[in-house]
Amino acid sequence: MMNSNEIIDDIANKEYEFGFTTDIEMDIAPPGLNEDIIRFISAKKNEPEWLLEWRLKGFAAFKKMQFPKWQHFEMPELDLQALSYYAAPKKKKQLNSLDEVDPELLATFEKLGIPLNEQKALTGVAVDAVFDSVSVATTFKGKLKEMGVIFCSFGEAVQEYPDLVKKYLGTVVPHSDNIFAALNSAVFSDGSFTYIPKGVRCPMELSTYFRINAQNTGQFERTLIVADEGSYVSYLEGCTAPMRDENQLHAAVVELVALDHAEIKYSTVQNWYPGDKDGKGGIYNFVTKRGICKGNASKISWTQVETGSAITWKYPSVILQGDYSEGEFYSVAVVRNKQIADTGTKIHHIGKGTKSRIISKGISAGRGDNSYRGLVAVGPRADNARNFTQCDSLLIGNDCGSHTFPYIESRNKTAMIEHEATTSKIGEDQIFYLNARGIDTEKAVALIVNGYVKEVLNQLPMEFAVEAQKLLSITLEGSVG
């Protein structure tokens, strides 16, 4: 019979399931960050002049900025000049159908459980697969198009729907928003674009799957989702990366725009490579995600399940501009080994009668360090704004940490802001109690953790809730000591 320490060691040494690499011919630009590479990327992608200008403005902003210092972890050294800013699977010509996608790539996604073949694909889910920053395939495009839904790679949108892109790009996360957003604006390679026309309820889940494969590259995608008046869309993002000893930077930007009475549900199941048990390697997940409820009575809801990455650093936010608009943030962030998470949300109540709800569940195991950071800001016009925040931390073992940094800025007396926080620990006596009823330690932890995160997982589309639940139990296996 293994004692708990042996179980811990066993699991800590367990390999990250998605850590394989794909051998494929790549176009990779030489390392270095400068105007030339930006022009190179823009030219490679055959972009219009205005977009190149926009990228260059982003780069100019980037050069004036410094890495922030307020975060609750030591900023790792990032040598941005050592990275390559363009990596794409070589392809001979324009692809006309999925059959023309490199079989090696299809196999990679199949191995990750994301079949791109429409016959095999999950029914009711359309997938845009992004491999090293380049969209390789989008499923069910035709079917969606019949309803007027645009769901394609960012690059394709620039070519096919330049007016839409130009109208909304950078309107939620400006090119100078923060240093990583500025960097992304300058060098973003591809990503996903979605437009839901007026009054359309998107009939399937839209999903982007990000895969980092190449070495010494950064991953910089942009996602832009526009939900026109009275429309609805549920969007899901997933991600994995091979195990590498070097850290890799992922600095994506996601912008959401909801017009009058529109609703966007954006869910993330983040499982980037977290590094090994000593904290070597892993992804730096420094992402800017923001949505604007531009229209009246619109709604944006973020749900995130963060289990991977060496460092997760992001605050999916909502600007509640329209009157009676609503913002939600549901989060589960798990850290173990030496992982770090500094995550949370910002909700800006601008319109009157706006409502927001924040449910954050942090889980810390091993020597992981988990911080919740959240801002609820209520502007002078936001009469009767309401916020409810529930922020819980669960500790597993004695060497992990959890911190809560709630900020409230209210400039309207009619606002009602509620904040609740709890910290609990999975105790040995709880585990023993379950053991004594025939439940082994791993199942016991899973049972407790599932109970703890239920409220958040319930927000995910069903198939993904099940996936997320599995991912959580795998992530936490053996972390009780």
Binding site: M1, E428, R437, D440
Partner: protein, 253 residues
């Protein structure tokens, strides 16, 4: 069914059990009494497999298996059940979901298929009535915010659901009101049969009027210093433990 031979155990480097010998046959009910801190809960913990206790000497056999070799969960699956003196609260885990998981783990171990949802609900209803357990408590988080008595009754409800061969009740009577004591005891009595054995740890003779034991043992300072029948409990109620302690000192002197 259960044979304990010369069992010694320590916790935090402190010797707590100092040579326990006990033989429990099928269908028997044994009561264990003894002053506070004498080692009653420790014995229960060692039998259930709590890992902060280290067995330093002795053996425990359960239905021909070396119990000390088994993990706590396997002991439970083999049919050992401990009703805790202090049941813990587990927020977020619903009582029913917990029970279903436990039941299915035990069934899987025995090579049985998982119980069907409908059968599970039927069983729940039946057992809930048997031990008169408040149905509202079944849907709440496991023991969270339960009153002391409700926690104890939940232990008995779990006992009824999991149907073990050997049930160890650690002061299940303390914290129960007079009616609850009767109800819980009746429930336990209904569960008693020729195949099942019970170890009832208690301070009060009153419980033993309801659950009549075949044997009464007195545990003192990590050893069983006296064994008798239910009359012994009456005598203890009247005279306390001092006379036994004196007898022991005389013997040892």
């Amino acid at each position: 069914m259960l044979t304990i031979k010369n069992l010694h155990a320590e916790v935090e480097g402190k010797q707590i059990l100092k040579g326990i010998n006990l033989e429990i046959g099928k269908g028997e009910t044994h009561a264990i009494m003894g002053p506070n801190g004498s080692g009653k809960s420790s014995l229960a913990s060692v039998l259930a497999g709590r890992d902060n206790y280290t067995v330093t000497e002795g053996e425990v056999w359960f239905n021909g298996k070396n119990l000390l070799d088994l993990s706590p969960e396997d002991r439970a699956r083999e049919g050992v059940f401990l009703a805790f003196q202090y049941p813990v609260e587990i927020p977020g885990v619903s009582n029913l979901n917990f029970l279903k998981t436990a039941l299915n783990e035990i069934r899987t171990y025995k090579g049985l298929p998982a119980i069907e949802g409908r059968d599970f609900l039927k069983l729940t209803k039946e057992k809930q009535q048997l031990v008169d357990f408040n149905a509202n408590l079944m849907n709440r988080s496991l023991n969270e915010g339960f009153s002391g008595g409700e926690k104890k009754r939940n232990e008995i409800f779990q006992l009824a659901m999991l149907d073990p061969q050997l049930a160890i009740l650690d002061e299940t009577d303390s914290g129960l009101d007079i009616d609850a004591l009767r109800i819980v005891s009746n429930g336990v009595n209904k569960l008693r049969d020729a195949e099942k054995s019970f170890v009832v740890i208690t301070h009060y003779q009153r419980l033993l009027e309801y659950i009549v034991p075949d044997f009464v043992h007195v545990l003192y300072n990590g050893r069983i210093i006296k064994t008798g029948t239910k009359e012994l409990a009456l005598e203890l109620e009247e005279r306390g433990y001092d006379w036994l302690k004196e007898e022991l000192h005389l013997k040892e002197a």
